[in-house]
């Protein structure tokens, strides 16, 4: 076993620790230590990865193990791990969001122990997904990540939580049903006639033996399966309700990381393993994701619930992720991953702040709030920064992601993709409209409710949570070069694979 397994082991130990802890203090200690360890581990993996690459190791996936632990040989289900630049970036993102999420749910009530247990289980699913290179284990971790969502929303949520939890879980499960079909399909066509069937992504890619007509069926299944989680139009409708009802840390983790599983799966499974179908069928999904981008943004313009606004904004931004992936030029795909990172961080920040504001005002309706800048300056300033990141202010992460996507998409010369790119570009204006609308109504202006005047500003754990995310957003926005290189190396492999089919 190699050290990537620590990503699963540390949370497991953390769960054991949580299970044994009795009081709030202990729970917090365990959660903080665990999440810090995860963060350290993610950074360590990043450094090791960069060292390996610098040492000239050009293998597609690093830190793979030669003899994976086999669970079920007849279907080649094994715990095979490995990371490339994208996975490393995603692991880091997850660790940061989990770290911030722990502090954002410092005062979770009721059942803090159970809350953190489920949250940790959720993070196990996410980590496991990003380190797996075996289709089945990947799927398994994906499912592990989904189940806790139901409980976390259903128990600790607010508002119409049962409905939302049910809807979210059912829709995502529907997606994973499609996914399971496609994974099994991939397995049974994974090797040329007579060859040994495999679930290992790298081997399937190396064999490249999936017949074209099979790809035609499996690609949409896989893409839609992951697309549901990636909030692709018209399968996004779980997102507004789910996010609106989820407790703060869950919204953060869900929008910040879990939705990225969708995008990650789309390129790692659907596009990478079925390049022919990608080149043939991507136009359908390009239209859908193009719609997502604009549609989400327009929808966000008229919402009045803070979380709904942000959820629709997520639809728009995650639409851009899938949109860019489907452009499958290296630059565009790099932009997609940058957008994932950027959206993950800033949307986590948004949800953290919304949670903190909601925790004080007990309303999320922007019409009932106003002038919060005077009352809680720290939170408001953070909100403005998050907003600015979201609308693509240079120096913050949103800008570089969007620009890379647009420049990459613009490498196509055919009118269809051109027009779609320009349509997607318009989202930067619409984003500005809804972000400024919220900022103007929520933070500026006069105080709407006199009781709000007595509210306090952020406490230290909330500050820590927000600052962690803001620093990450700014770091990504100010120095994007190295992470873009890290990603584009991995993406060019996929891009070239697809390019040979046009």
């Amino acid at each position: 076993m190699n050290f990537l397994a620590l990503f699963v082991l540390i949370p497991l130990l953390m769960m054991a620790g949580l299970f044994l802890s009795k009081e709030m203090k202990m729970i917090r200690t365990v959660a903080v230590i665990g999440s810090t360890l995860q963060l350290i581990l993610a950074v360590a993996v990043l450094i090791l990865f960069l060292q390996e690459r610098a040492a000239g190791n050009t293998a597609e996936m690093l830190f793979t193990i030669d003899n994976p632990i086999v669970w079920y040989a007849p279907l080649d289900i094994a715990l095979a791990v490995g990371v490339d630049g994208v996975s490393v970036a995603m692991l880091l993102l997850t660790a940061i969001v989990v770290f911030a999420g722990v502090f954002a749910s410092w005062k979770i009530n009721p059942l803090p122990k159970e809350f953190f247990l489920w949250l940790t289980l959720l993070s196990i699913g996410v980590y496991g997904f990003f380190i797996s290179i075996n289709l089945f284990t990947m799927f398994m971790f994906y499912e592990i990540a989904l189940i806790p969502m139901y409980l976390l929303i259903g128990v600790w949520g607010s508002g119409n939580k049962n409905y939302s939890a049910m809807k979210l879980t059912l829709m995502l499960m529907g997606g994973s049903a499609l996914l399971l079909v496609s994974i099994l399909g991939l397995y049974f066509y994974s090797a040329p006639e007579g060859g040994e069937l495999t679930m290992n992504i790298l081997e399937i890619a190396r064999n490249n033996a999936i017949p074209h007509e099979v790809q035609t069926y499996l690609f949409p299944l896989a893409f839609v399966g992951f697309g549901v989680l990636g909030a692709m139009f018209p399968f996004h409708t779980w997102s507004p309700d789910g996010h609106a009802s989820a407790p703060t840390a869950v919204s953060m983790l869900h929008a910040g990381v879990l939705m990225k599983l969708g995008g990650y799966g789309c390129f790692r499974v659907a596009m990478y393993l079925m390049p022919w179908a990608t080149s043939e069928l991507s136009w359908i999904f390009l239209i859908l994701t193009g719609i997502s981008v604009v549609y989400g943004a327009f929808s966000a313009c008229v919402q009045t619930d803070l979380k709904y606004i942000n959820a629709y904004s997520s639809v728009s931004h995650c639409g851009l992720v899938l949109f860019a992936l489907l452009m499958w030029k290296t630059t565009a795909m790099t932009g997609a991953i940058l957008q994932m990172l950027s959206h993950g961080l800033m949307t986590a920040l948004f949800f953290a702040l919304i949670g903190m504001i909601y925790g004080r005002t007990h309303t999320r309706d922007i019409r009932e709030m106003g002038g919060l800048m005077k009352i809680m300056p720290f939170l408001s300033v953070c909100y403005v920064i998050a907003g600015m990141a979201s609308l693509g202010l240079p120096g913050l992460s949103g800008f570089i992601a969007e620009m890379t996507v647009f420049v990459g998409s613009f490498e196509w010369t055919d009118p269809f993709r051109r027009v779609l790119t320009i349509v997607a570009c318009t989202s930067i204006v619409i984003t500005a409209v809804y972000i400024l609308r919220v900022v103007g109504k929520l933070l500026y202006g006069t105080v709407q409710n006199e009781h709000h005047r007595e509210l306090t500003d952020a406490s230290w754990w909330e500050r820590l949570s927000a600052i962690t995310l803001i620093v990450s957003v700014a770091a990504l926005g100010m120095a994007p070069g190295w992470i873009a290189n890290l990603i584009s190396n991995s993406m060019s492999v996929i891009s070239e694979r697809i390019m040979q089919y046009i």
Binding site: G395, M403, E411, V429, G440, N485
Partner: protein, 642 residues
């Protein structure tokens, strides 16, 4: 060039100041924060002057000032050829802009010490000012178009923050939002333009684009859309970005509203620096425009000319003094745009004057920055004294505020184009360039120049002469921190016209001696005097002539007063059409159709299961019947098969 190695401090220092003031500002006293910001900016200004001095004293190579790039590092690599670099590019116009920005910014910093005294959020104000200065400086020294875009966005954001400085005031919030969104919309065009341009030329770099090594026309040959070539589209879209920032018609609507910000901010951002970014952008890409896409240049001229006239007419009837100044700014920037637009070639020497407009435009940019900042700061002093923006609250102020009065008058004379004040020289060159292109544009612009003189003096007389309004307490002269910048700028305004501008900034870089064309100059002076005389006759002494005139042209007056209802049109489009007919239906669609489909599926499942649960009744007897019939059916089938 190693001698410019220190130039990065010019960018770094304001950034550091922003961070310091932003993070620690609330712990400082107002005085410390103000002094910190001002002294930091003072250092930057000095450095900028040193840069300018060093740059313009460098030996010319082939008669041209060399373009210096002391820094240029890779920030983000898109593809092999498309790389965003961050760097510093020094050439005559960027050095000139450095001087303008730092000077005006320093003046505004000093002035704000007095003007913003005691305001809550004083530290925040200085932090934002630093941010703005940083972004604007970054914009002008950009080495490539993408760096420019980056800082372009940043100035937009800092402008947003500063307009919305009084964030509890609803109108200020609305204005800041409007400013940001309108310019963002324009930036969309800019972005698409950049994408097009870089797609064809495979570079973002200004030097590569402008020194002729890459030709947009060649690389984009044969590509066209809606009958207009791709090259023209690219350049026109890039100009759209410039038009948004420079408040060109029809994207001008944000600028008058932006006056909701503190007055020094208006002076800095919305008069002297940010709003000329569009002009600067066109000037930056001037070789591409003039050589490769002259049709776009024609378009630019038309836009500029329309804006100039429109803004001048509107300025004549506004009663809010800051609005008058705002429209005057729009009109003056349009002058610069027109000057660029009427250029026909890069040449500017004894044989040809095709590039005169470029020089004139830059010259006017320079002088305008000074006298318009002076006007705004003066207006600020007046507003400070009478606590109102409305002309009706003023009148006869010359007795109370002598320094403001004199400096304001100087600025008015400069903008009206009366020699020897700076505006005269630059405006005269613009008119000359316009006449060079065609008599039509020359006459058009001269007419606008006349209107300028008229509305400026209308403003002047209404404030300082005319009927004295009733004041709650006697207006008094502004404190020293406010009058010193006024005096400084007034001095600059008096003498800037004598700078041999053609020696420094010309399209080709070759030195050019400005010589006045007395026919044009005479005409423009005459027109200016007519305008001033008319204003004097109407407004110097309190009388009812203005009202009578307004009555005689009632409908024109109303339309002009309401800025030809452009705001209403935009409001209609955004609120009525976009919000009501796009956003709301989409939201409805999402809630009811998409969500409804999902809910329908859920309901259908539930309905179906509710209804078929009777099968699973728990009644053993019905099970037995069903079981028996099943068994019989199987038996029957087997029987039939046999």
């Amino acid at each position: 060039m190693e001698i410019f190695n220190y130039s990065f401090i010019i960018l770094l220092l304001p950034m550091l100041m922003f961070v310091t003031l932003g993070l620690c500002g609330h712990k400082m006293s107002h005085r410390t924060a103000g002094m910190l910001g001002t002294s930091g900016l003072f250092i930057i200004t000095v450095l900028a002057y040193i840069v300018a001095a060093q740059y313009f004293t460098m030996p010319r190579i082939d008669g041209v000032f060399a373009t210096v790039t002391p820094y240029n590092f890779t920030w983000l690599q898109f593809t092999e050829s498309l790389i965003i670099k961050l760097g510093i590019l020094l050439d005559p116009i960027s050095v000139m802009m450095l001087v303008v920005i730092t000077t005006v910014s320093l003046m505004v910093h000093i002035y704000s010490l007095g003007y913003m005294h005691g305001e809550t959020g004083f530290q925040r104000y200085y932090a934002f000012l630093s941010l703005f200065t940083f972004s604007m400086l970054g914009l002008v020294v950009a080495t490539n178009i993408f760096q420019m875009y980056i800082f372009w966005e940043l100035v937009g954001a800092s402008s947003y923050l500063l307009i919305g400085f009084y964030y509890t005031k609803q109108s200020a919030v609305a204005a800041s939002k409007k400013a940001f969104i309108v310019t963002r919309f324009a930036d969309l065009g800019f972005l698409i333009g950049i994408l097009l341009l870089s797609f064809f030329t495979k570079t973002f770099d200004f030097e590569t684009l402008t020194n002729g090594s890459v030709s947009l026309i060649d690389t984009a040959a044969g590509k066209s859309f809606l009958g207009i070539s791709a090259a023209s589209w690219a350049m026109a879209l890039i100009f759209m970005g410039g038009a948004g920032k420079s408040a060109m018609f029809p994207l001008h609507i944000w600028l008058p509203d932006a006056m909701e910000g503190p007055t020094p901010v208006s002076a800095l951002i919305h008069a002297a620096t940010m709003v000329v970014a569009g002009v600067y952008l066109v000037a930056r890409l001037f070789p591409v425009y003039v050589i490769q896409t002259p049709d776009v240049l024609m378009f630019i001229t038309v836009i500029g000319a329309i804006t100039a006239l429109y803004a001048a007419i509107v300025a004549c009837v506004q009663t809010d003094i800051k609005r008058v100044l705002a429209f005057s700014t729009i009109s003056q920037i349009a002058f610069m745009i027109v000057a660029l637009g009427v250029c026909t070639s890069m040449e500017l020497d004894h044989e040809g004057h095709g590039g005169l407009g470029y020089m004139a435009s830059m010259f006017h940019l320079f002088t305008h920055a000074m006298f318009k900042a002076l006007l705004f700061l003066g207006a600020g002093a007046i507003i400070h004294a009478v606590h109102s923006n409305e002309m009706s609250a003023m009148g006869g102020l010359r007795k109370y505020m002598p320094i403001t009065h004199i400096t304001f008058l100087i600025a008015c004379l400069a903008i009206a184009g009366i020699p020897p004040f700076s505006g005269f020289f630059s405006k005269d060159e613009i008119l000359a360039a316009a006449f060079d292109k065609s008599a039509f544009w020359g006459i058009w612009m001269s007419l606008v120049a006349g209107l300028t003189a008229f509305y400026m003096f209308r403003l002047y007389f209404n404030i300082f002469w005319g009927k004295e309004a009733h004041h709650e307490h006697t207006p008094h002269e502004a404190p020293k921190t406010m009058t010193i910048p006024l005096l400084f700028l007034a001095v600059v305004t008096c003498f800037a016209g004598f700078i041999p501008f053609g020696n420094f900034v010309t399209p080709t870089g070759l030195s050019y001696d400005i010589h006045l064309n007395w026919t044009v100059a005479g005409t423009s002076i005459a027109i200016a005097i007519i305008g001033i005389a008319l204003a004097t006759w109407l407004y110097m002494k309190p009388n009812d002539k203005p009202t009578r005139m307004a009555d005689s042209m009632r409908s024109l007056h109303t339309w002009a007063y309401h800025r030809f209802y452009f705001d209403e049109i935009y409001l209609f489009v955004t609120h009525k059409i976009i919000f009501r007919y796009i956003c709301a239906p989409i939201a409805w669609f999402d809630r009811h159709i998409i969500d409804g489909t999902m809910n329908l599926m859920a309901t259908a499942t539930q309905w179906a299961s509710y209804h078929i649960r009777g099968l699973q009744s728990g009644r053993l007897q019905s099970y037995a019947v069903v079981f028996l019939f099943g068994a019989l059916l199987v038996a029957f089938i087997v029987l039939c098969c046999m």
